[in-house]
């Protein structure tokens, strides 16, 4: 290295941009002296398609755009963009043409130095191995990444955290019959047998069967005669996996947890299996048995933990959405049952409809309420209105207590407009479809994602069928829906950079739901309704649209991957928020994402744009926006 070379400015520039930012300081320091600089005027070719690059180009200032052989824009970027890196790494031809769209200064890194850097830094090498647009791989990678953490989390769970209730014990000198009574009353399958504070044995259901009944022992005998004395125990700090191993090796089902001789409780094989399954099934079961609203509220607080468990287990966003939806359904259903139990049987049959994301099986954490009441046409307002208003209010306030805020647009059964007989709903559907004002399209788009939750399913089926035929045969309505679906902008700027809020409470963040997930939902709804499918979930709608010939399989696959990526990103964000004691929202800060995530986020938004363009070509949306 020559002395007195001070190219600090260029070093600092590189240090501020990926993938150079991942290089060790000494490597970064020596790098500028190996580079050269070239200048390209606006309009000049920077790197032609089909040429095998001999060097890596880094935009120092100005801007370039990359276009594929069809002339489609692939990327547009300014300072920091690397051109030709992937092709140089693989020794293949550059697939896209790069042209300067502003006067551009480029740093040039010779192949030799480039390959050395790839050997020096795994991150640097990985940056050029990742091919853009392969969202599916990215999602799989992400899920695998979090799955590894999950395994670690399960391994790291301590037995003390798994003890579910205060220990139920019985004195060693008490009669066996007393032990049996206690177990029945407490609905437990085992008892800790104590001598004062000290644990001396355990007694299980199985002991009562084999050692008492089958052996003809007098139930008045002391517990100490039939218990398992000096049972195997674990301390509260033992790892869950160790406890599981103990149970399996000794072929036992109960393991007392003891802290310095003092019993803390009992863990069972079921407890450990619950841990493994993150127990959404148990949660749903518990909610369905909840005796009152307060218990439903208490149990619902476990939902974020369940979702966190799903993320750790590498569950897809689609499956996590189904689980969250199932728990949400269980909550709403239980609230309805409890309300009915207090109000008495309904005066006319009704159906409780769930709308929006839960209707699509895509519920995230912290959603607004979206529901409606569909009443039988025998409904007479003067006689029946009070009952259903009361029912709606009870469920809505219960949901609010659980943590689902009321819908700001009043799209809830408490609103008389969203609580009406079938005939009135049919009229609404007809009106929405025939005279699609912006407000009508907005209302319809909420209402067209509906699913039967409770009550008479025949009512829901009839309404859904009416919706389906009405929408499919109304090209003007579909055109308006198309205009709406094509109008939302993903937060992607002119240079294909991520656009964040500049100021205010959401500064430096972008809205994954408004700018991403919801746009895909709208696109899928349009294609689904056009195809006449009864499916409400986004991914199922896309599949049916492909089957009906309304959407190309490639674009549908891209949309599915983009949806999965965005939804998974949101899921993880929400789990993190909940863990930090914050309310789950949809706003993420790109600055906190890895470069892989940022790149795939851009790709996902790019897919949405492509799909919107396709819609604009197919439907006469221009005049409608």
């Amino acid at each position: 290295m020559p002395l007195d070379v001070e190219l600090a400015e260029i070093r600092d520039f590189l240090a501020a941009h990926e993938p150079f930012s991942s290089l060790p300081a000494d490597v970064l320091e020596a790098l500028p002296a190996r580079l050269s600089i070239v200048y390209r005027r606006r309009g000049d070719v920077v790197l032609a398609a089909g040429t095998t690059p001999a060097e890596l180009l880094v935009v120092r200032s100005g801007a370039v755009e990359l276009r594929d052989p069809d002339g489609e824009l692939v990327e547009r970027a300014g300072a920091g963009l690397c051109v030709g890196g992937s092709a140089l790494a693989r020794g293949t031809a550059q697939p896209v043409a790069t042209r300067a769209i502003e006067d551009t200064l480029l740093l040039v890194c010779p192949a030799e130095a480039f390959h050395e850097l790839r050997e020096r830094s795994v991150e640097f090498a990985a940056f050029f191995e990742q091919r853009a647009g392969q969202l599916r791989e990215a999602v799989a990678r992400q899920r695998a990444h979090y799955m590894t953490d999950a395994d670690r989390a399960v391994l790291q769970s301590r037995v003390g955290e798994l003890v579910r209730r205060t220990p139920v014990g019985i004195g060693a000198e008490q009669p066996i019959v007393e032990a049996a009574r206690l177990m029945s009353a407490e609905r437990i399958s085992s008892l800790l047998v104590t001598d004062g504070e000290r644990l001396v044995g355990i007694l299980t259901d199985r002991d009562l069967r084999t050692r008492v009944l089958a052996a003809g022992v007098d139930p008045a005998s002391p517990v100490s005669t039939v218990m398992t004395p000096d049972p195997v125990t674990v301390g509260p700090d033992a790892l869950a996996v160790e406890a599981l191993l103990e149970l399996v090796q000794r072929n036992i089902h109960h393991l007392p947890v003891v802290d310095r001789g003092r019993p803390l409780g009992m863990i069972t094989a079921t407890d450990l299996l619950r841990l493994q399954q993150a127990s959404p099934v148990f949660l749903v079961g518990d909610i369905a048995k909840a005796p009152d609203v307060a218990t439903v509220v208490e149990l619902s607080a476990r939902l974020p933990g369940v979702v966190a468990g799903l993320v750790r287990q590498g569950t897809s966003a689609r499956d996590a959405g189904r689980v969250t939806t199932t728990v949400g359904d269980a909550i709403e259903q239980r609230l309805l049952t409890l309300a009915e139990a207090e109000l008495g049987a309904p005066p006319v049959p009704y159906a409780w409809l769930t709308l929006g994301s839960r209707a699509r099986f895509e519920q995230a954490l912290g959603p607004d309420q979206d529901h409606a009441l569909l009443l039988h046409d025998d409904y007479r307002p003067e006689a029946h209105a009070a009952y259903f208003a009361d029912l709606a209010e009870r469920v809505t306030s219960g949901l609010e207590a659980v943590g689902y805020p009321r819908c700001r647009g009043e799209k809830m059964a408490t609103n008389p407009r969203w609580r009406q007989p079938l005939a009135a709903w049919r009229d609404d559907v007809t009106r929405w479809v025939r005279t699609p004002t912006p407000q009508a399209v907005l209302e319809a788009s909420v209402f067209f994602d509906l699913r039967h939750l409770h009550g008479d399913p025949a009512l829901t089926a009839e309404l859904a069928a009416a919706q389906r035929t009405a929408a499919q045969s109304a090209p003007i309505f579909l055109a308006h829906l198309a205009a709406h679906a094509a109008a939302g902008h993903p937060p992607l700027g002119f240079f294909r950079e991520l656009v964040v809020d500049r100021s205010g409470e959401h500064r430096d963040t972008l809205d994954l739901k408004r700018g991403g997930i919801n746009l895909i939902v709208e696109i899928a709804r349009l294609h689904g309704l056009a195809a006449g499918t009864l499916e409400t979930s986004t991914l199922a709608r896309l599949e049916d649209a492909v089957a009906a010939g309304g959407l190309s399989a490639a674009l549908a696959a891209d949309l599915r991957d983009a949806w999965e990526f965005l939804a998974h990103l949101r899921l993880r964000h929400q789990v993190e928020r909940v863990r930090a004691g914050l309310s789950p929202d949809n706003r993420i800060a790109p600055a906190r994402l890895s470069h892989f995530e940022k790149r795939h986020l851009k790709a996902a938004f790019g897919v949405i744009r492509t799909a919107q363009d396709a819609i604009s070509h197919r439907y006469p949306v221009r005049g409608l926006m």
């Binding site: 070379v5 002296a33 600089i37 070239v38």
Partner: protein, 211 residues
């Protein structure tokens, strides 16, 4: 006109230089630091980038501009070594500078003070080129010919550094931009970009060199 004058800019080898001095007068002020970077055709070769501090006892007023401290200058190398190295770096290259007469003036004085011949050959001045490029567009706004304003004209990045190497590099980048503009219209040779020195000045330089 020499044969070198017909060299296309694509094949032209230059050395962009910048001096930090203790003042504005070659007769009374001294060279504090020299920075340079080679330009091969239309490509800047950073491997040849150098910055040398010149050892001295009293840096003078320019210290505040270049943020050079007494310690910096005491650790510098003797002028004779620095200028010898510059002469080697310039072999086969055309001198390139922004406001070249200024740098040339100090270099001539420096070599003269060491009893050595001054640098020969043509030079390319980005300030002159900028004036020539802007003139057809009408009156040139005040300050438009200054290095950083000229760079801004081409959308080149604003640097915060202001040392001899940083300015030499800034000048080299400006040259690439200027040449790119010239080449967009027709082929460009050295004679199209080199600074034209009036006959009287050339005679004067020749006379000074003789003494």
């Amino acid at each position: 006109m020499t044969s070198a004058d017909r060299t296309p800019v694509e094949d032209l080898r230059l050395l962009a230089i910048d001096l930090e001095t203790s003042g504005l007068s070659p007769a009374h002020d001294r060279i504090l630091a020299v920075g340079w970077v080679p330009v091969d055709g239309t490509r800047i070769d950073l491997s040849g980038a150098r910055r040398h501090l010149v050892r001295q006892d009293e840096p003078g007023d320019a210290v505040t501009i270049h943020r050079l401290t007494h310690d910096d200058l005491e650790t510098g190398r003797p002028l004779t070594e620095v200028l010898a190295e510059l002469r080697t770096a310039l072999e086969g290259r055309v001198l390139l500078a922004h406001h070249a007469p200024f740098d040339r003036g100090f270099l001539d004085a420096g070599y003269r003070s060491l009893g050595q011949p001054s640098l020969r050959g043509p030079d390319v001045c980005t300030l002159v080129l900028q004036r020539r490029l802007l003139t057809p567009r009408g009156e040139i706004p005040r300050g438009a010919l200054r290095l950083w304003r000229a760079r801004a004209h081409y959308g080149l990045p604003v640097a915060r550094a202001h040392d001899a190497l940083g300015d030499a590099l800034a000048c080299a980048e400006l040259y690439l931009a200027q040449v790119a503009e010239l080449r967009a219209h027709r082929p460009v040779r050295l004679r199209d970009v080199r600074r034209r020195v009036p006959l009287l000045d050339r005679l004067r330089a020749w006379w000074k060199g003789r003494r």
